[in-house]
Amino acid sequence: MSREWPLWEVFIRTKGGLSHRHAGSVHAPDPELAMRHARDTYTRRMEGVSLWVVRSSDIVASDPAQDGPMFEPAEGKIYRHPTFYEIPDVVKHI
């Protein structure tokens, strides 16, 4: 068996003004073919107006086992949210 083509992650912008969103992945030997495969595999029905392909091995992901320490500080700082502050109802436009 010959060496398997590397994996690429595919991101689609569904329409102008929206962010690219992860759709899935494809195998391809190079960026050009990755783009073609992404187009054929993920946009057969006008699913988007723009595609990104990124080598899967280039993505750095957070460790789910570290979710607690990683995201906890934000949860402990509720004063970062507007609802933390009590303003009387009579005060408008704030």
């Binding site: 083509w5 899935g24 190079d30 073919l33 057969r44």
Partner: protein, 330 residues
């Protein structure tokens, strides 16, 4: 579809594998029970991982092998419209196979390994594709019945507990509905045509009905892995529940176009609000699973040939990129 456990009850049914940290197992079970999605990098029991790899790869193989019976009619579709539609459908099936291989790869098995397992005969695919497509009406029957059964099975899988599988199913379900409708449209046209055309449609229904309702897999009391898969929220409904649902929605569709479901025991049961239907020949099902289906050998040969004859393309593309990479480095 194609997602039911194939094969006889397995002595190595997935049970807890020793040596796993009970605290991790308990935390995993609690997450699944709370309907959380499990993602690729999350800790999961080895048996969960194995069950998913087997189920998702079987599903992927079925999509890919499923291109063959329909591909058989591409060059003989009765009009340009039907040909364009069938071509789009077959291309979709290839796409569905790719989504599913991707989902399975996130579990740490490479696509080449899965394809190798298919070609060596180790991996299973849906029994339905080991039946031949003898007439154009078979293309109608496949879309209507086989894709109809697939949708019935896949809709609940959009909420299956493994995130990448669930997301792949969302994409598949969106595309699948046209497959069933185009099939029913073919059957409608034939059933409303000449007596010969109507007979052709009836013949296709006669041959595809039983294999289609077998697609939901063995009955619940003979499906030992089901309980575990339901607990892990890999499956959301039992085989028999889905089969009943399929029969209940499909029988009126057959009646509407004047075709007869080939089951003399089929009768409406007002008490349960569903149809009672005749006994399924499970020996035929297991024989087809074992690879004794009418065209099983032909299907596997077509797959292996496609893989082998495409090898030079894969190698050339890799060599081209290797040369360019070397040039960039120089």
């Amino acid at each position: 579809m194609y997602t039911t456990e194939l094969g006889k009850p397995d002595a190595k049914a997935p049970v807890a594998i020793g040596g796993e940290d009970p605290a991790l197992v308990a935390a995993f079970e609690a997450r699944v029970a709370a309907d959380e999605f499990i993602e690729p990098k999350d800790w999961m029991p080895e048996a969960y991982r194995r069950t998913l790899v087997r189920q998702i790869s079987q599903h992927a193989h079925s999509e890919i092998v499923g291109m063959l019976p329909e591909g058989n009619w591409l060059t003989r579709a009765p009009s340009l419209r039907r040909k364009a539609v069938l071509l789009a459908k077959v291309q979709d099936e290839g796409g569905h196979g790719l989504y599913l291989y991707c989902a399975a790869e996130t579990l740490g098995t490479s696509r080449d390994e899965m394809i190798d397992a298919l070609h060596s005969g180790k991996a299973k695919y849906s029994t339905i594709f080991n039946y031949p497509t003898l007439t154009w009406a078979d293309i109608g029957a496949i879309g209507w019945l086989v894709d109809g059964a697939a949708i019935m099975n896949q809709v609940p899988l959009q909420r299956t507990s493994y995130g990448p599988y669930a997301r792949a199913m969302v994409r598949v379900c969106k595309e699948e509905s046209f497959h069933q409708r185009q099939g029913y449209e073919i059957m409608m046209a034939l059933a409303g045509g000449t007596p010969d055309q109507k007979a052709m449609a009836q013949d296709a229904l006669n041959r595809w009905w039983w294999p289609s309702i077998m697609m939901f897999g063995p009955p619940d009391d003979n499906s030992p892995n089901s309980a575990q898969s339901m607990r892990w929220r890999i499956k959301r409904d039992t085989n028999d529940e889905l089969r009943q649902k399929f029969v209940d929605v499909t029988v009126p569709q057959a009646e509407y176009i004047g075709l007869t479901v080939p089951d003399p025991d089929l009768v409406w049961n007002a008490d349960k609000g569903g149809y009672d239907f005749g006994a399924i020949d499970w020996e035929e099902f297991y024989a087809v699973v074992r690879g004794e289906g009418p065209v099983a050998k032909e299907r596997m040969k077509a797959r292996r040939d496609a893989w082998d004859e495409g090898a030079w393309v894969r190698e050339a593309a890799s060599a081209y990129e290797a040369t360019r990479a070397a040039r960039r480095a120089a």
